[in-house]
């Protein structure tokens, strides 16, 4: 099972991303108002969705850690935080590239953009916090509390376009989008979801291996010994 996930997920992810790119760049028609530029949506929307899914997983894993003190949950939270930073970066950069030709600016302090930027910075801070604490139990507890606090930004990001007067468009419904444009979007969302799973699973395995090493090395003892010949 684990071997199937280790090899199967990255292979399926790669195939789906290639198919999704073909659909988005070649098969999808030119849009009447935005021309070719709208094709950025096929990478921006999926990465934006993953940048909200990842911190949701971090929040749930952190709650599980606080209840059960499960090292697996802590490893999943750490993996999810790293993947959050990746997808929030992709969301912000592709959004900025989308914004220049459509809005005329690379960046604006719009509620949606600002709340995603706060999410990105908060999770970089979370990862920095993890590096500063040596004791595994303290690190996991403090990180879990931090993750739950900063995950409050996830619903703020999602609802920001409804709560405030935002330049960013509201969430679209498939009913209002032409099927020739919506179908490639569904495929690209699936493709980036599998990429997300592959990265999360691989990072989780690394985290589990690190915790196994930590358990076999008592706190305060050096993790490596330099042997010098006389």
């Amino acid at each position: 099972m684990k071997r199937a996930l280790n090899i199967g997920l990255p292979v399926v992810a790669l195939i789906l991303v290639v198919l999704g790119a073909y659909q988005g760049l070649v098969v999808a028609p030119t849009e009447r108002m935005m021309g070719e530029v709208y094709r950025i949506m096929y990478v921006h929307v999926p990465t934006a969705m993953m940048s909200l899914l990842a911190p949701t997983i971090v929040c749930v894993a952190s709650l599980v850690y606080l209840v059960k003190s499960s090292r697996q949950a802590d490893a999943l939270a750490e993996a999810g935080a790293e993947v959050t930073v990746l997808f929030a970066t992709l969301c912000l950069v592709t959004g900025s590239i989308f914004g220049r030709p459509t809005w005329g600016v690379w960046w604006t302090w719009d509620p949606r953009l600002t709340s995603v930027a706060i999410l990105w910075i908060a999770f970089i801070g979370y990862l920095a916090l993890r590096r500063f604490v040596d004791d595994p139990d303290k690190r996991a507890t403090w990180s879990a509390v931090t993750a739950i606090i900063i995950s409050v930004d996830v619903p703020i990001v999602y609802f920001s376009v409804k709560w405030w007067n935002s330049l960013h468009q509201m969430q679209s419904s498939p009913n209002t989008v032409d099927p020739s444009i919506a179908a490639p979007l569904r495929l690209n969302i699936t493709a980036w979801f599998v990429v997300f799973l592959a990265l999360l699973w691989t990072r989780y395995r690394i985290g589990r291996a690190e915790r196994d090493r930590e358990e076999s090395t008592p706190v305060g003892e050096p993790k490596a010994v330099l042997r010098m010949s006389p």
């Binding site: 760049l25 935005m34 990478v43 990746l86 691989t202 690394i206």
Partner: protein
């Protein structure tokens, strides 16, 4: 008024593929 076209599309796709691919390679190296 939309200014520009494919150059923005390629920039967005290129950045996404390079960043995701680079992170995947870094994970693969760390997992060995």
């Amino acid at each position: 008024m939309i200014q520009g076209g494919w150059e923005f599309v390629w920039a967005a796709y290129g950045f996404a593929w390079l960043a995701a691919g680079g992170y995947a390679v870094s994970l693969w190296r760390r997992s060995k």
